[in-house]
Structure formats: structure tokens, C-alpha cells
């Protein structure tokens, strides 16, 4: 049924779409208020224009400016990239995928097995190393992660590698001692390579709800996160929490994970993301 006027119900429907995409209550309210204002200012009356207008607002917000690359590279030597995040979000897998991408661009890549805690974590990264065809620097299970990363840097330098991707153990941001351990890894990287780490990528699982905002806040405070990898977008979750994160912390999404295979990593495309938010919603159909 096509509606012929913009009413409160329509705004509420939009609110529901955003909330069900995990955008969160306060960011949703803020967005819908902005929409109301735009509608008023632009004197919009056709309900079919509402959703596109909302998309426009979101797109403006989520777009990365042209100077922010999907991966900041060090042109003078070794680029070091640190992967951080809570348990099970997809850090190790993303490293495998990114290594594949970089290697196919002709870069020499080395991986550091900085998760010495989780059962099988080192072997998991080694398997990825074999799959992609890149070296993995590792210690024994239980070793000091900072020491592994230190060795990773030395090995990468001596082998003339272009990029070192450092895995770290999953940790809940609320665990102070584990966050301290991560800071130590960060400091080692800072000390050993001037200007490094060139990226600290926070990996977020798209199925995560409002807690992701807290994750972003706490990890940013600890290790100066430079961007987000949003994984598992191949499911039905929309990952709308990154909108709240962008809104509150101005952290850009740089990559998205779309599966478990080597090829399933893409640069973030704001347009596609926003389109996905409205997916099969009725408002979308009305607009089309």
C-alpha cells in the first residue's frame, strides 16, 4: 500500500529499521530528528522521498574522505599493522585474507602469531600462512605476545618484507590486565619502527549489538585504533553499530568481511553498506 503523506508512523517505521539494524536508540533518534528537520527545510511531502533522504544523510556520515586510504602504507620501509578486538570476531581470518590481498598486489608479507593464548591459535595462523604462501613468525603457546611481535618485526626487516600483519589474542575490552598486555605490544611496535603501527585495525563482528560501541571506545583509548574491519556481513546482520561508532568516535570502517574464504575481504563501500541497511524493507520498495 502506497502512502500519500509523510506522517509520524512513517518516521517510526524508519526508526524501527535503524534499531533493528543495531544502529542503537540514541543515534537512531538523532538521525530521525535530522531527517525531520531536512523534510521541513526542503518542504518534502512525498513519502517516497523519505528513505532516499535518510540514505543520503547516512552516506554523508559514513563516507570516508578521499585522503583516508583503506590501508596507510609506509613508503620508507616496513608497514606494521596491528589487529585487535574481542574474542571470535574474525581477527585471524581477516589477517589471512588481507595477506592474500597484499600478496596478490606484489607485496612481501609476513605474519606474526601474537595470539599465544587461545588453543590452536598459532596453528590457525600457520594454516593461513600456508594457504596464502607467506611466512609466519611464532613462539610457543603461552609466550609473551610482545616478544613474538618484536621477533616478527626483526624477521620482517631482515627478510625485506613490505608488510607485517600482527595477530593478537581476542580480549574483552573490559579486562584491564589484558588491555595492558595489548598496550605493551603496541609500545614495542612503536619503538621498533618509526611511525608504526601504521594501522591499528579494530575488528568488529557485524552481528554485535550495542556493546561494539564500548569496544571501540576502550580499544581506541588503549591503542589508538585507526580503522574498523566489519566482519560477517555475509549473514543477515546489518552492522549498524558502526554508524553509532562513526557518529560518536569518528572511526572509519575500512574493510568488510563477507565470508570465510581468502577472497572474502572488500574495501568498505559506504553506498553498498547504506543500501544494505534498508535491505528488503517496505520503505525501500516504496521508494523504488
Amino acid at each position: 500500500l502506497r502512502r500519500n503523506k509523510i506522517d509520524e508512523e512513517l518516521f517510526e517505521e524508519l526508526e524501527e529499521i535503524l534499531i533493528s539494524a543495531d544502529v542503537g536508540v540514541s543515534t537512531t533518534m538523532e538521525l530521525v530528528d535530522r531527517l525531520r528537520q531536512e523534510v521541513k527545510e526542503r518542504k518534502i511531502q512525498d513519502p517516497a522521498e523519505l528513505q532516499p533522504l535518510m540514505s543520503e544523510i547516512l552516506l554523508e556520515m559514513m563516507k570516508t574522505d578521499d585522503v583516508t586510504p583503506s590501508l596507510a602504507m609506509n613508503n620508507e620501509g616496513l608497514t606494521v599493522i596491528l589487529f585487535v578486538g574481542v574474542n571470535g570476531v574474525g581477527k585471524t581470518t581477516t589477517i589471512g585474507k588481507l595477506a592474500h590481498k597484499l600478496k596478490s598486489q606484489g607485496k612481501k608479507v609476513v605474519l606474526a602469531a601474537g595470539d599465544t593464548f587461545r588453543a590452536g591459535a598459532i596453528e590457525q595462523l600457520e594454516t593461513w600462512g600456508e594457504r596464502v604462501g607467506v611466512d609466519v613468525i611464532k613462539h610457543q603457546a603461552g609466550a609473551d605476545p610482545a616478544a613474538v611481535v618484536y621477533d616478527g618485526i626483526q624477521a620482517a626487516k631482515s627478510r625485506g618484507a613490505d608488510v607485517l600483519l600482527c595477530d593478537t589474542a581476542g580480549r574483552l575490552h573490559s579486562k584491564v590486565n589484558l588491555m595492558e598486555e595489548l598496550k605493551k605490544v603496541y609500545r614495542v611496535v612503536q619503538r621498533e619502527v618509526p611511525g608504526a603501527p601504521h594501522e591499528v585495525l579494530l575488528v568488529l563482528d557485524a552481528t554485535t549489538g550495542q556493546n561494539a560501541l564500548q569496544q571501540a571506545k576502550t580499544f581506541s583509548q588503549a591503542v589508538n585504533v585507526s580503522g574498523i574491519v566489519l566482519t560477517k556481513l555475509d549473514g543477515t546482520a546489518k552492522g549498524g553499530i558502526v554508524i553509532a561508532i562513526r557518529n560518536e568516535l569518528d572511526l572509519p570502517v575500512k574493510w568488510v568481511g563477507l565470508g570465510e574464504k581468502m577472497e572474502d575481504l572488500q574495501e568498505f563501500d559506504a553506498e553498498q553498506f547504506v543500501h544494505g541497511l534498508f535491505g528488503q524493507s517496505r520503505l525501500m520498495e516504496e521508494a523504488e
Binding site: 524501527e16 534499531i19 533493528s20 539494524a21 543495531d22 542503537g24 536508540v25 574481542v86 574474542n87 571470535g88 570476531v89 574474525g90 589471512g96 593464548f117 587461545r118 588453543a119 590452536g120 591459535a121 596453528e123 590457525q124 600457520e126 594454516t127 593461513w128 594457504r131 603457546a141 581476542g170 574483552l172 575490552h173 573490559s174 579486562k175 563482528d205 552481528t207 554485535t208 549489538g209 550495542q210 556493546n211 561494539a212 564500548q214 560477517k232 555475509d234 549473514g235 543477515t236 546482520a237 546489518k238 553499530i241 570465510e260
Partner: protein, 297 residues
């Protein structure tokens, strides 16, 4: 503590009603608006929230409540009752087979905590003087078998594996056969993480179920899951007929609202909660205690 944020918000919303001599419909409405926000911010699915709030409102504006001597308290009581109901009432334990072995299948999305929970559960069962066998049914994830073997070693429980070249259906069947041979009385089958919308992978789980006729099919859910929890739980339940849920990563500061959503859409009890990465951090779930704790009663 998980649920803490939710607890604070809910209590604040209801505080205004507490000890009030007279409560109007408008008071209830205002409080319910706050309750709605608190639940949404805790990631309870918005449809579940809507139903919850409607139910409470309907019950609360009834004559018995508003005309009672302590209307504020009565409204809070209604919220508590409905919250407990949403969480599943009584504590629910594992079902064991009359004739062992009991077969338990662990299923869920990628990274939810299935393999770790399998190890934790083995430890718990062993402490109860049972003889578990772990079956390495994830042939896809790099080093998944190795992960389970390490966990098995850590808790002192044998792991059955056929490598990663056999089908998980065959591995599960052979695993159960091995348990019978060796006199193991519980078989815990770890399966690969999969998306609930992945037809082929869901079909594989159905085949395993047909093959081994499990007594328990436990959906492992990350407590940090957002609004999508209902889609996931609904699909897994429809495809497999779940018998219970394990909620993991509750040791963080998540508000854990997904728990309420999952329970609401599957009506399956939450049987355990994971409270850490270590193998001793699996606890039974007590719905009524949790509801009371959330409301600070």
C-alpha cells in the same frame, strides 16, 4: 557484570513508581517508555520489546494493580514476573539418555564459542564422574581440530578425530560408535560455525542429527549479539529443533539482551552461561535469580 547496565536503567525507570501511594495510567505509560528504551539499549530485539511492554502495560493498568495499596510495588512485581517469564522460569538442566551414551551437539554462528564451550562442558561432566568423549566435527576452520585436541588435553578428556578429509556426518557417527566401544557415557560433538542462512551447511547439521539422534542440540550464542539474534535462533531452531542455549562471553560488560530475545523466539531454555575464556568458567543459568538481580530485588 553483564546485565548490570540493563539493571540500572530498569531500576531507574521503575524508581519513580516505587513507594507511590497513587499510580495513574500516565505514570505507568511513562515508566514503560523508559523500560522500552532500557531493553532496546540492552539489545533485546525490538519486536520482543514491543510484546513485553504491551503485556506489562496491559497487566499493570488493570484494576487490581492500580487500586491496590502499594500500586508502585505491584507494577514492579508485574515487570519482574514478566522478565522472569521472558528468561525462562525454572532452571533447566541437561537431559541424559536412559541408555548411554548421551549425545550432545554444539551448533551456532562462527566464533560464538562452540569449541571452547565443548571443552568447558567436558570438564564439568568429568567432575560429575561422567566419561565424556569429544568429537572433532569441524573440518573447515583452520586448526579447529587442533584447538579441540588442546582443550581435550587440558581437561583430560579424549578427543575423537578423523582429520579434515572426512565428512562431519561420518565423523559424528563414528565418534558415537567409538564412545560405545570405549564405554564413554557422553559424546560432545563440536561442529563448524555457520551462518543460519547457509542452506548447504544447515543441511549438513540436519544430516548429523539424523545420523546420531542427539539428546541435546545446544545453540551457542555470543551474549554480545544484537538484533540479529532472533533471526539466528529462529533459523537454527526451525532447522534442527534446539533443546537449549548456551550464552557465552557474559564475563564482559554486555547487557546481554540477546539472551531474552533468543529465549522469547525459541522458547528453549538457557542452560549454561560462559563467564570467561578459561575452562572452569561455565555456569548453570538461573532465570529467576537473574531477573531479580536485574531488577535489584
Amino acid at each position: 557484570m553483564a546485565f548490570e547496565g540493563l539493571s540500572e536503567r530498569l531500576q531507574a525507570a521503575l524508581q519513580k513508581l516505587r513507594g507511590k501511594g497513587k499510580v495513574t495510567e500516565a505514570d505507568v505509560k511513562a515508566a514503560m517508555r523508559e523500560v522500552r528504551l532500557a531493553l532496546l539499549e540492552a539489545d533485546v530485539n525490538f519486536k520482543v520489546v514491543k510484546e513485553f511492554v504491551d503485556r506489562v502495560r496491559e497487566r499493570a493498568v488493570g484494576q487490581e494493580v492500580l487500586k491496590s495499596l502499594t500500586p508502585g510495588q505491584q507494577v514492579i512485581k508485574v515487570v519482574n514476573e514478566e522478565l522472569t517469564r521472558l528468561m525462562g522460569g525454572e532452571q533447566s538442566k541437561l537431559t541424559f539418555a536412559q541408555r548411554p551414551p548421551t549425545v550432545i551437539m554444539m551448533v551456532g554462528l562462527q566464533g560464538a564459542g562452540k569449541t571452547t564451550t565443548t571443552g568447558k562442558l567436558a570438564r564439568l561432566l568429568k567432575k560429575q564422574n561422567r566419561k565424556p568423549l569429544l568429537v572433532a566435527g569441524d573440518v573447515y576452520r583452520p586448526a579447529a581440530i587442533r584447538q579441540l585436541q588442546v582443550l581435550g588435553e587440558q581437561v583430560g578428556v579424549p578427543v575423537f578425530s578423523m582429520g579434515d578429509k572426512e565428512s562431519p556426518v561420518r565423523i559424528a557417527a563414528e565418534g558415537v560408535a567409538r564412545a560405545k566401544e570405549e564405554g564413554c557415557d557422553v559424546v560432545l560433538i563440536d561442529t563448524a560455525g555457520r551462518l543460519h542462512v547457509d542452506e548447504a551447511m544447515m543441511e549438513e547439521l540436519r544430516k548429523i542429527r539424523e545420523e546420531v539422534q542427539p539428546h541435546e542440540i545446544l545453540l551457542v550464542v555470543d551474549a554480545m549479539t544484537g538484533q540479529d539474534a532472533v533471526n539466528v535462533a529462529e533459523n537454527f531452531h526451525r532447522e534442527l529443533g534446539l533443546t537449549g542455549v548456551v550464552l557465552t562471553k557474559l564475563d564482559g560488560d554486555t547487557r546481554g539482551g540477546a539472551a531474552l530475545s533468543v529465549k522469547a523466539v525459541t522458547d528453549c531454555p538457557i542452560k549454561f552461561v560462559g563467564m570467561g575464556e578459561k575452562l572452569d568458567s561455565l555456569e548453570p543459568f538461573h532465570p529467576e535469580r537473574m531477573a531479580s538481580r536485574i531488577l535489584g530485588m
